[in-house]
Symmetry: C2
Subunit: 451 residues, 2 copies
């Protein structure tokens, strides 16, 4: 058979990584320790045990470079992994930039996003320790969907606090969680002390991930059979997502190519970490590669935030983590990329950004949807608005290279599809996805609340 | 590397079929010819040229066993083909039937269904003949979505008449068509003579595929630069879908297995034809295999219809085709599987059913959603309500085999995912997906209108 030009680079099931890659083994500056929110002393595993499974706590602080993926989790990864790496031939033709553009398609998972990479092990480790019920928060709804399915597959109950503005914008999200057997309420809710307090303070609040986290943590610590689960930010979540980048490295090698630029959108940081971290050892070894985290201009944590200790939630239930933050009291406007509306950032991404190993860019909502439409009409896949942030910068970098007369190899993490985000596309097509001017004054106010 | 138990059977891109398989070469009884709706004489290619591309008309009557897939179409098939054949390990465990259950996942296409298999060649052949604009109808919305994307990829305008009840139940469908650059209106519309007549006759009609077809055909013949495109029923559509079954045969061979039963849902017949027809030569050669078409109890074309000449649309613009039909005036109730609400049936499927080479079963809506939920919670993928008809019978056959103490190999065509059908799941979860009693009296009325 003659060698054909491939559109997608696939790997056989046997090539699903057997280990997660832990970037903590390769950081120039070790992470600052988490602090107990009450005592402000270095966090101990015992502090976290009411909230998380012991194995996840161990992963959180592990310095081992490789951590084995349990067989039952890897078995379930086979439902969609290894995910394909596409050559974006349609987009390349539309841009005529001379660049090689690839996208890793995590939306191929049954839930439509990369989130299942971490939801499955989190459900597995909790089940293994006898937990019956898991609570969480969700912004865009991708995480709550993934955790609902993962809990169902491992026989756990799932309770999701969904940021109110997303709950209202995306009715299908609640339904899919229920289809998988999960429960979903709008946050702030009347079910928790923190939810009721927030409703009293701001009855019309669109909600934030920080408030929803407070509710989910409060729910979890109030019951012995329940743990809390987080879909981004924490080290163990970034660890689980490392399957993405490990696969990309193998796929690029098959294609006999190596990326000049790797791009992921960045809210809490997990999908960006997933695709970018496995390239950190190469970069530290002197390989020329740019790793770009993309965030919304309306919530510019890395590009405008402070690198400081802050809470992950609004009430202060969570540990204090050293990270880039806009202040835990910051309420981002209700943009359509709900998954990126978070005041904080993965401490791992934050430290690596601080050390200059990764870059960050922020983009306006109108540019994001312009890129999303160009992508959908040339590649066929409708991207999630979050993932479209990465596409937007991918296009920008390709056009920049074209202007400079050079050809680059660009890899984008297409972390999810936008089938359940079509209301956002409708808004854009009808001129209702305005750019939100970022207010430096409100940021200064919010940063005053740093602990 | 040790041999692992595979969850999905994948094929390399090079294995995408290079030819479509044409079942007309292997039929015991040749198709009765189509008739001109006005003269009632045997249809000539010239009768069809105002509506269809010449190459598609040639395919419609071709007796060649294999027809080459044009390179640009096969190139675009690479966006998702070959589609994976999954071993339904989660469902198998839940049923504990001892059967081997497989599903061919066509929902992996960028538009989420098998429809793109035919939309791409239809757009390609129309473009090649200088056509600028294509009209069509859509029921569930899967076809309109696929054609909108295909037209965009080949640089054609696309106009979609969408059955009103689906248009109302599924707002996201209109949006995704617009995202791909297509236009979509509810049918009956005020844009056509047939639409206005139907609105005058039944102002509150939920619409039907037959009315929408009348509108789309009328629109197409009224403009020189426009052709009409159909997403099912016709021979050339079944031909294009044959890539599904051809791949399944290769995948089962790799797995060293052969199906005892192949199951597809059946509205106009294209996805069922796609998976089943490539097995017809084996069956005629004496191989023991059952091919089951599944239809809704509310629209039981094969199981309760007449085998007779009828129109494809309500007004009588289309050729008369010999097929199983409930009468072109039949208005099925507004069930959630909008893609199966069609009075007629593919003439190819009809003739093969009449000759005893394929079987048919009808299922109640409540059983369909029960099966869909079991599937989603064990396999992860939320099936389209149409495809869930096939799952429902797959489960039934597995449990029947279990009761008989035998193990069977069952292959289901999972023709699409249900991400844009979640409102239907919501109805079911809230007890609003009642079983519709089929009215024999209304069928008798409708059959009186047969020409």
């Amino acid at each position: 058979m003659s060698k054909e030009e491939l559109t997608k680079i696939t790997l056989p099931e046997e090539m699903i990584p057997k280990f997660w890659y832990n970037v903590q083994a390769d950081m120039p500056t070790p992470l600052a320790p988490g602090l107990n929110p009450k005592t402000r002393k270095t966090l101990t595993p015992a502090d976290l045990e009411p909230i998380f499974a012991r194995e996840l706590i161990a992963q959180e602080v592990s310095q081992e470079r490789y951590i084995e993926i349990p067989a039952p989790v890897r078995e379930l990864y086979k439902k969609w992994r290894p995910s394909p790496l596409f050559r974006a031939r349609g987009l390349e033709k539309a841009l005529d930039s001379g660049c090689r553009i690839y996208y890793k398609y995590e939306g191929i998972s049954p839930v439509g996003s990369h989130k299942l990479n971490s939801a499955l092990p989190q459900a597995f480790f909790n089940k293994a320790e006898g937990i019956k019920r898991v609570t969480t928060e969700t912004g865009a709804g991708q995480w709550g969907t993934a955790l609902s399915l993962a809990c169902q597959l491992f026989g756990l109950e799932c309770m999701v606090y969904m940021v109110r503005v997303s709950y209202q914008q995306k009715p299908y999200r609640r339904i899919i969680m229920e289809t998988y057997g999960g429960k979903c309420v709008a946050s702030p809710s009347t079910l928790t002390i923190s939810g009721r307090a927030e409703l009293a303070r701001h009855p019309d609040t669109p909600g934030t991930l920080a408030i929803a986290i407070s509710e989910a943590v409060e729910d979890a610590v109030s019951r012995d059979d329940t743990h809390y689960s987080l879909g981004s930010v924490l080290n163990h979540v970034c660890l689980h997502q490392s399957v993405i980048g490990q696969e990309v490295k193998m796929q690029m090698e098959i294609r006999d190519d190596y990326p000049d630029i790797v791009i992921g959108c960045c809210g809490g940081g997990s999908n960006f970490a997933g695709i970018a971290f496995p390239f950190i050892p190469d970069k530290r070894a002197g390989r020329k590669i740019r790793l770009i985290a993309v965030e919304p201009a309306a919530c510019p944590t890395l590009t405008k935030g402070a690198f400081a200790y802050d809470y992950g939630d609004v009430v202060g239930y969570t540990p204090l983590l050293k990270m880039y933050t806009l202040g835990h009291d910051f309420t981002p406007d209700g943009i359509h990329a709900g998954g990126l509306r978070y005041h904080g950032e993965s401490p791992l991404v934050s430290q690596l950004y601080h050390d200059g190993l990764i870059e960050a860019q922020s983009v306006l909502q109108s540019h994001v949807f312009e890129a999303a439409l160009l992508f959908a009409r040339n590649e066929g896949i409708v991207p999630a608005p979050e993932s479209a942030h990465a596409i937007s910068v991918g296009i920008k970098e390709a056009l920049k290279a074209k202007a400079e007369g050079i050809s680059k190899s660009i890899v984008i993490n297409l972390s999810g599809h936008g089938m359940l985000d079509l209301a956002a596309y409708d808004s854009y097509l009808n001129g209702h996805a305005a750019d939100i001017e970022f207010s430096d004054a409100s940021l200064q106010e919010s940063l005053k609340t740093l602990p």
